[in-house]
Symmetry: C2
Amino acid sequence: MKQLNVDLGDRSYPIYIGDGIIEQIGSYFAKHQISSRSPIMVITDDNVASLHLKKVTTHLLESGYKVVEYIVPAGEMSKSLSVLEQIIGKALDAGLDRTSTIIALGGGVVGDLAGFVAASFMRGVKFVQIPTTILAHDSSVGGKVAVNHPKAKNIIGAFHQPQIVLYDTSTLKTLPEREIKAGLSEMIKHGLIWDAEFSKWIDENAEKLLSLDAEALEYGLYNGCKIKSHVVSEDEREHGLRAILNFGHTIGHALEAVAHYNQLLHGEAIAIGMVGAAKLSVRLGYPERIYTETKAAMKKYGLPIQIPGHLDIDEIMKAMLHDKKFKEGKVVFTILKDIGEAHIQSGISIDLIREIVEELRWEE
Amino acid sequence: MKQLNVDLGDRSYPIYIGDGIIEQIGSYFAKHQISSRSPIMVITDDNVASLHLKKVTTHLLESGYKVVEYIVPAGEMSKSLSVLEQIIGKALDAGLDRTSTIIALGGGVVGDLAGFVAASFMRGVKFVQIPTTILAHDSSVGGKVAVNHPKAKNIIGAFHQPQIVLYDTSTLKTLPEREIKAGLSEMIKHGLIWDAEFSKWIDENAEKLLSLDAEALEYGLYNGCKIKSHVVSEDEREHGLRAILNFGHTIGHALEAVAHYNQLLHGEAIAIGMVGAAKLSVRLGYPERIYTETKAAMKKYGLPIQIPGHLDIDEIMKAMLHDKKFKEGKVVFTILKDIGEAHIQSGISIDLIREIVEELRWEE
Ligand SMILES: NC(=O)c1ccc[n+]([C@@H]2O[C@H](COP(=O)([O-])OP(=O)(O)OC[C@H]3O[C@@H](n4cnc5c(N)ncnc54)[C@H](O)[C@@H]3O)[C@@H](O)[C@H]2O)c1
Ligand SMILES: NC(=O)c1ccc[n+]([C@@H]2O[C@H](COP(=O)([O-])OP(=O)(O)OC[C@H]3O[C@@H](n4cnc5c(N)ncnc54)[C@H](O)[C@@H]3O)[C@@H](O)[C@H]2O)c1
Ligand SMILES: [Zn+2]
Ligand SMILES: [Zn+2]
């Protein structure tokens, strides 16, 4: 079992990572001042509910908590204001109040949704994350919570830090293979932007990580969370440094949007985006190995590197120019100066970006 | 013109109160870092739009701002998630981004709604309040913003402090008489809970305030805001002291709910509630004058002191017991130890409260 502290002044919190943590959920809750006086609510999706909810609820009931369950349909569509309103209706009916805690049991979708419920219900109640995907090592750290607007993703939200994150690696065993790879894509990103040594370790341990070897997972998730939390501690509200976490995301988000959020997983889209951003880095004069190693990592982990043929380049460029990271027609991009060293570069020409996007169509 | 500072560390902000402030809106905005690079949005209701929007927009355009207007129907129904979603849709279409500012032009309804838009749009953008009701001297200070859930008022929200509050007393001249009185009810409250001298001044200046004498209004609003901001500075997130602002509100909220939020204005409901809380204070052993003076103030200002005959006492008690200020069957109540000195008392018997509510039915 590994423990990590996210350092945010009076909003600091610990992340526990290890096999079987849910069995001890009662003592973690007691230790971190989760009150059992008022009911608590566990929000999850229907996939995760059938696999892991019973275990969580049983342990909580045994520890004296009054537990209210709320199950949303799996998938991005549940990150909506109307689902939020329904959840809050149930919370009111069940007697939740200002001393209640909201628990997210699931991946990034459930984490973002439940987090915004916790941020806005009675203007903010306590929040606990129990991530069940590998991608959630990213989404459960940093306090960004949100729902989607029909016109844009993650556009209605808050910064709301959890009280604790309980990362039970045993829940990951039920993940579909495609979700495993897509989750590891963010772990690769964390190595690339911050820690060359960790990048090397990820390269050497692909087989172990892909087969969910308990020890490798614990180490990899710990380091991924550590890098994310380090960046977030320095810049909680994304005034500067935090933007390096967007490595691969400018192109990635555009791909997701043009593919209507139902053909590419987030981790897959950013894998292609990272290859693009690595290409750009080299084109801007940084070492060739940035590109070769980034691409090699994606291939080793079975992640896509090529923009699917049916996605229109004009559409992708249009989606990218709508992205909030583009200011006054000037293009800001997170690139690498080397493996393990990210950099936010402004004033990049849109023509150069377009060239790279066109090349990604034929990447292999 | 009077200026006041709300002291909240790095979230501190100034309130400007005076006649004709809107004419200088451009320079206030410039002075307080409201960027003109991205469009800004003015949210108001249809009553206020027809009376005061043109003036605001014109001055902003003249000062070089790109202005997007959003007009909601007047009334509590507009404080909803679906209105919020529509506003954010328009904001996206109009190209608002993270550097944009949301402006509330109106009373507490518009302030609460626009404030929650500002708190949640892109996880938080800048916010300016331009209050146009007397009641808003209360609602525009303190950073509580929210929309309603069909099952409960103000239950989905945030703490989001404005960048500046511009209180132009000239806008108040168009207020209906009933709204003037209801707004002054909160001013009376601020005197009663905090400042015996201000209470006395309010008593002596009823005629001036009710006729919107410019100088008296400026002084009264300034002091009301000052008291509220003082309490809020000490306890931004309502862990303790801030609860004294609830004086009159426990009974008041129950009356509003049982009257379906369409028969009693908020200020009217809390006027009755304050008489009840003053009665309770005396019953608990504090000086008789608390009751006589509170009641005299309400009468002088033409505010109601009696529970309307058609409201059912059982319903009122039920609504009150649902109120979040009641914990574990124990009743917590904000009372007065004397004029100008509020106190939060716990462990009050529900029977005593019921007796007082029954008496309020016959109060005269
Ligand atoms: N807040 C942040 O900082 C942040 C960062 C990155 C991504 N995100 C958000 O995260 C979301 C994506 O997260 P995700 O990839 O975890 O998606 P997800 O929550 O949709 O989970 C992916 C799929 O795996 C299923 N699943 C989850 N746990 C499982 C388990 N243990 N066994 C079997 N199936 C399981 C889910 O039901 C779902 O079908 C997006 O909405 C994205 O916007 C947020
Ligand atoms: N956030 C807080 O701390 C806080 C505190 C108290 C009350 N509130 C909220 O405030 C709301 C009540 O505020 P309110 O009384 O200002 O209500 P309001 O905003 O509905 O305004 C009352 C009426 O006056 C009209 N109006 C506003 N300005 C006018 C003007 N200058 N001339 C003519 N008509 C005008 C409005 O259109 C409306 O019909 C409630 O929703 C309550 O929950 C919030
Ligand atoms: Zn991501
Ligand atoms: Zn009030």
